[in-house]
């Protein structure tokens, strides 16, 4: 029988598996890049420059996705670039979630002056254009992986704070919170055992979205050459370089772009899928 619920479950399941599969493949590729990358990602060889991908005429075995104008292997560079993207996604995403969600919970549940301070701060923060803010921060801190991670945290904690605050407020007005209070629970313990489990799924969804955003921000910053050093391959850097030779070798631009697109899409779909999966009411 195909009722509505099982249909929702099935498509949710498919989405979950596809997105988790792509991310898993990416993680494996990034972790084992030194062993599985067919070429050295930094090796330049002008004799093999602008080789097309494997299905086109003139392709060379061992250069599956072709080479760029300096003869560097595109596939290897994508694998190594995935390292930077994933490290940023993981560290920046998690740290942003921790900081933003904590502030959001405090503001939404305790209210009062803490809420006043945090909410005004969020309002002021959100008035800055995020990418310009990031570039400004990097300009002050200098380029490098740490700067990129810090910039993302500083910019994006507000996203968590605002959503989690609203959610915590809604949960705080529920009768079960009043019941817990009547049963002698302290405020902090109510926050941890009653409110937190109910906003956890929201935080998880936001976290996966945030990881996608972190990947994009990193790509933007490396596109304008403000991320890690120019020696290390990054997707944003590859896109910037590929842009210059798009008429001669479109693959240099397109493949990192596809990797970026699929990764960001997978992160957001993973979030949606997880939400459906862990929603106790839907199950």
């Amino acid at each position: 029988m195909l009722d509505g619920r099982s249909l929702v479950k099935r498509t949710a399941g498919l989405r979950l598996w596809l997105s988790a599969g792509w991310i898993a493949a990416l993680v494996i590729g990034a972790v084992f890049a030194p062993w599985i990358a067919p070429q050295d990602p930094l090796m330049q060889d002008l004799f093999t420059s602008r080789l097309p991908p494997f299905w086109m005429d003139g392709a060379e075995p061992g250069y599956w996705l072709g080479t760029d104008s300096l003869g560097r292997d595109v596939l290897s560079r994508i694998l190594y670039g995935g390292r930077v993207a994933l490290i940023v996604a993981l560290i920046a995403g998690t740290a942003t979630a921790l900081i933003g969600a904590t502030l959001g919970l405090i503001a939404g549940y305790f209210r009062g002056w803490a809420d006043m301070v945090i909410s005004r701060l969020v309002d002021i923060w959100m008035a800055f254009p995020p990418v310009l803010f990031a570039i400004l921060l990097i300009a002050v801190m200098g380029t490098g992986l740490t700067s990129v991670v810090v910039a993302i945290i500083v910019i994006d904690w507000t996203r968590f704070a605002r959503v989690v605050r609203a959610e915590a407020m809604a949960q705080g007005a529920m009768d079960y919170v009043a019941s817990a209070q009547v049963a002698g629970r302290g405020r902090m313990s109510t926050l941890l055992t009653e409110i937190l489990p109910n906003v956890l799924s929201t935080i998880a969804v936001l976290l996966t979205l945030e990881m996608g955003i972190a990947v994009i921000v990193e790509a933007i910053l490396s596109f304008v050459n403000l991320s890690v050093s120019t020696d290390d391959p990054t997707w944003g850097g590859m896109i910037a370089e590929g842009r210059l030779s798009i008429h001669q070798a479109w693959w240099v631009l397109v493949f990192p772009l596809v990797a970026l697109f699929l990764t960001v899409l997978s992160f957001s779909q993973l979030g949606e899928g997880l939400k459906d999966r862990f929603d106790p009411v839907l199950n």
Binding site: M174, A178, S179, V182, A183, G184, P280
Partner: protein, 289 residues
């Protein structure tokens, strides 16, 4: 000797001088069932919430005292007050759908209080939880303890909440319109269950409702509120024979009768409302000066 003793309790809307409760005095003795009746917004739930310390953020107690078992709750520091209320009082909430945490299983939601307040170990609390679920006529208590709230029906959840309220042997139960959110068919069973449990555990019961029919059947005394002001406080027998206050009389006359379902509803006459409003205004005049 009253177990719950409220004197001149006034609650205002935070940041204003507008009173939601106006010098309310109320006594509930140790095994008594006290009905709190009034229209929506009369402040009947507010009294229960003030006693339990769960007033909404927008409401603030400005004067009066609430004594529970001889201890004035309002002079206690918040932590002490919570522990005391947790030990001696419990709430049967209005809406069973939002009164259980959807993200937690039933078991901890019943046993938390036993562990936190009474200091029992988890195993003993679990045994007690199963026992009290059995008392509220829930079949297969062990299965229910492992369930999440959404797996249970509304009536079942209300039974769980009743069990949870009585689990730690409190001496005062505040039931805040415990059947309004339920299906009519289960309302009667739930009411019966509440009074069965109240009689067995010999607790005091503050029963907030707008249903005078229920009050006439189960309460010993009742308090009628209008605009946060006590209109009349009486023995149930005397009240239904001859309500003293004009507002009470009008409220009683406005109750729909099962014997004649087609009869038009009788609204409370404007003159009576005007008089009740005058009483409220006079009380405020005394309070403000």
């Amino acid at each position: 000797m009253s177990y719950l003793r409220i004197r001149d309790l006034s609650v205002v809307l935070r940041g204003t001088r507008h009173r939601l409760l106006r010098d309310v005095s109320l006594d509930v003795s140790a095994t008594e069932v006290m009905g709190l009746v009034g229209e929506s917004g009369a402040g009947k739930s507010m009294i229960g919430k003030a006693v339990l310390g769960i007033l909404p953020r927008s409401a603030r107690i400005v004067s009066g005292s609430i004594e529970l078992d001889g201890v004035d709750l309002l002079t206690l520091p918040p932590r002490k007050r919570r522990t005391l209320v947790g030990r001696k009082a419990a709430l049967i909430p209005q809406d069973p759908l939002t009164a259980l945490n959807p993200a937690r299983r039933i078991e901890p939601q019943i046993t938390d209080r036993l562990v936190d307040i009474l200091g029992w170990d988890r195993a003993r609390a679990r045994t007690r939880a199963a026992e009290i679920l059995h008392d509220v006529h829930i079949p297969q208590p062990d299965r229910v303890l492992r369930a999440y709230p959404h797996e249970l029906s509304g009536g079942m959840r209300q039974r769980v909440l009743i069990a949870s309220a009585f689990a730690a042997e409190p001496r005062l139960i505040v039931a805040d319109e415990p059947t309004t959110a339920l299906d009519v068919t289960v309302q009667k069973q739930i009411l019966k269950l509440i009074f069965e449990m109240q009689a067995r555990h010999e607790t005091a019961l503050l029963f907030v409702t707008h249903d005078l029919g229920v009050v006439s059947k189960i309460c010993q005394r009742l308090t009628v509120l209008y605009g946060g002001l006590v209109m009349e406080e009486a023995e149930v027998g005397a009240f239904f024979d001859a309500p003293q206050h004009p507002y009470s009389r009008a409220l009683l006359a406005a109750t729909p009768r099962h014997t004649d379902p087609d009869a038009d509803l009788t609204p409370v006459p404007d003159a009576v409302i005007a008089e009740a409003r005058r009483a409220v205004a006079e009380a405020d005049l005394r309070w403000h000066t």
